[in-house]
């Protein structure tokens, strides 16, 4: 019996189909990541699993109990720890009193150890807690009764990097003790570091369930670089370069600014760059660029090795872009995300980014 089983789970709010026929299982003893952009329907699934909302259609079981049967679900809840996206506690009491209440209802196996790890300020009233401290208190209440199954909605939001690190270690340890973890996130890197398998939801529909390794190869990095000298665009004529946006400043033939260095910005896809021309123009060279890279980082660095760079950063690709590239049969226009047709996020700076689709305008 799987820890969590969803069968055709559907939640229709009338104007929004928050979950549309979602079916998957979370096996015992695994850390399962539930990944999707904000508003994709992750929280709806989680709140259905806990019986807060009832499904329009389909069923779900947690630890073998039907979520629509209150008595059955209560039985399961004794063995479930739940951390909401934005946990809230009675503000007029201290953290200690909150823990006492939780201990009196569901028991306390290990709050001492958890307090050492997460350390919320217990003697302060919750009113005076920072967002991060509320989250830490939430982590203690989630795990204090030593649950078999932890359901965590965006667990690391609001935690500082040190706490995130501690939390990740803690989860891995718990998994080795046999705990099942179902966590949602919109941050790819987090899921990749923590999870064994991921389910990907978009616009209420489950688009993939796969082992985390499959995701590893797919996501890519956003590369931003700035160079002293113009770099020919042909240098980036590489496999795995997407959504290239370049800017040439200082010495290009772009429209002349009077005081500030003129900037021209042209974007094409890497595959149809015109490499024949050798004069340095915005079309053939750049001093600044951003692109998504899914290839081998070493190859990229080798290519750029001969140029003096002012700045280079590699970041996790935004989830929306990854989604559209690999899972996006439907376009992103119906959920209001700032995503263009080719999957790049519209984050052009002051330059007039000339957004084009794959057809290019070289």
């Amino acid at each position: 019996m799987a820890a969590i089983e969803l069968e055709g789970l559907t939640k229709d709010y009338g104007e929004v189909l928050a979950n549309d026929d979602v079916t998957f299982d979370v096996e015992r003893g695994e850390i399962f990541g539930y990944l999707g952009p904000n508003g994709a329907g992750k929280t709806t699934t989680i709140r259905t699993l806990l019986g807060f909302i009832s499904p329009t259609d389909g069923t779900a079981r947690v630890l073998g109990r039907e979520v629509t049967d209150e008595a059955e679900l209560l039985e399961a809840k004794r063995r479930i720890g739940y951390l909401p996206d934005d946990p809230a506690f009675d503000e007029s009491v201290t953290g200690r009193e909150i823990l006492e209440l939780h201990a009196s209802i569901k028991g306390d196996e290990r709050s001492e150890e958890l307090l050492e790890l997460f350390d919320p300020p217990l003697d302060r009233t919750v009113r005076h807690y920072s967002h991060g401290n509320v989250k830490k208190l939430g982590l203690v209440t989630t795990f204090m009764h030593d649950p078999e199954l932890a359901i965590l909605d965006e667990p690391t939001g609001g935690l500082d990097p040190l706490m995130k690190q501690r939390f990740a270690e803690f989860l891995r340890e718990e998994r080795s003790r046999g705990m099942t973890v179902f966590l949602s996130s919109h941050i790819l890197g987090e899921v990749r570091r923590l999870c064994d398998r991921v389910g990907i939801i978009r616009n209420g529909r489950l688009v993939a369930v796969e082992p985390v390794e499959a995701l590893l190869n797919r996501s890519g990095k956003v590369v931003r670089l700035r160079a002293e000298e113009p770099i020919p665009r042909s240098k980036l004529d590489l496999e795995g370069v997407y959504d290239l946006e370049t800017t040439l400043s200082d010495g290009g033939d772009g429209p002349d600014g009077t005081e500030r260095p003129a900037e021209s910005s042209v974007e094409t896809t890497a595959t149809n760059v015109d490499v024949d021309r050798d004069e340095v123009t915005g079309e053939t060279a750049f001093t600044e660029c951003t692109f998504t890279f899914t290839g081998d980082v070493n190859v990229l660095l080798e290519r750029l090795g001969e140029y003096r760079l002012i700045d280079l950063s590699l970041e996790e690709a935004p989830l929306e872009a990854v989604f559209l590239r690999f899972y996006g049969e439907h376009d992103g226009t119906d959920d209001g995300e700032p995503v263009t047709e080719d999957g790049s996020r519209t984050e052009s700076g002051r330059g007039t980014a000339n957004r084009t689709g794959g057809a290019g305008d070289a």
Partner: protein, 262 residues
């Protein structure tokens, strides 16, 4: 069992103490001014005669010539039936809706507690203010009446307070019902206060008219301080009706809350 009620009840202790002291102070003030009021007007009901008919009917003013009648109007009809009645409706409306609006309900319901239990225990915790206001004031009233040489029988003082308890619980139950139906606490509170005051008006203004029957659903009909203090009638049937009202409202609240999405 009752962990949530105990937790909530503890949180209500301080506010309830303040409330209880404030109501006792109001009682003391009324008793303190009664002798000079009485000296000035004696046995004649000049003030009562001068009051507009609607007001007499609204506040069910029977007599102002005796301390009992004076307190029934100034303290019990005004302070208990109206002020505390509305306040308890307001508190009741803040129970479930506030938890939902502030996102606390998710944490509460993630514990192994049924929704029925959450509703019941949140409601039960309102016993703290309801009982607290009825502890200090009767002592002040009884002792105060002795001090101004106008004693009121202890049984009447105890009865007027004891019988107010189901009345206040009924008002709180109206609030609770609003609280489970509406999940914006501000709206639930306005709704509860509005309904409770509306029911008070229905009973007060429609009495002795053709529409008197409508008052049957008003908790006000079943708690009459004048009857208790002036006539010494303690009607357990009225308390029974109030308890029946509470049971119905509580059951409806539980049923509604069990079915709804939070």
């Amino acid at each position: 069992m009752l962990e949530l009620a105990r937790f909530d009840g503890r949180n209500r202790v301080r506010g309830s103490l303040y409330l209880s002291v404030a109501m006792a102070a109001l009682a003391a003030l009324m008793i303190w001014i009664f002798p000079s009021y009485s000296d000035a007007f004696g046995e004649d009901e000049e003030i009562l005669d001068a009051l507009p008919d609607a007001m007499i009917r609204l506040f069910d003013v029977q007599t102002l010539a005796s301390l009992e009648g004076f307190l029934a109007f100034e303290l019990y009809v005004f302070g208990w039936i109206i002020l505390l009645g509305l306040y308890l409706a307001y508190l009741g409306a803040g129970t479930v809706a506030d938890d939902i609006e502030r996102g606390r309900m998710d944490v509460v319901l993630s514990m192994p507690v049924s929704r029925a239990r959450v509703v019941f225990e949140r409601y039960a915790a309102l016993a703290v203010p309801i009982v607290a206001v009825n502890v200090l004031t009767p002592i002040v009233v009884y002792v105060g009446a002795e001090l101004v040489d106008d004693p009121i029988p202890a049984t009447d003082v105890v009865a007027v307070h004891l019988l107010s308890i189901p009345y206040l619980f009924a008002c709180a139950a109206i609030g609770l019902a609003a609280s489970v139906v509406v999940d914006r606490v501000g709206i639930a509170q306005r709704l509860a206060v509005g309904i409770t005051f509306g029911l008070f008006l229905v009973e007060s203004l429609l009495v002795d008219t053709d529409y008197e029957a409508f008052g049957v659903v008003s908790p006000t009909r079943y708690y009459d301080p004048n009857e208790i203090l002036l006539e010494g009638t303690h009607d357990p049937v009225n308390a029974g009706v109030l308890i029946a009202m509470i049971v119905v409202l509580l059951a409806a609240s539980v049923a509604w809350f069990r079915r709804r999405d939070v």
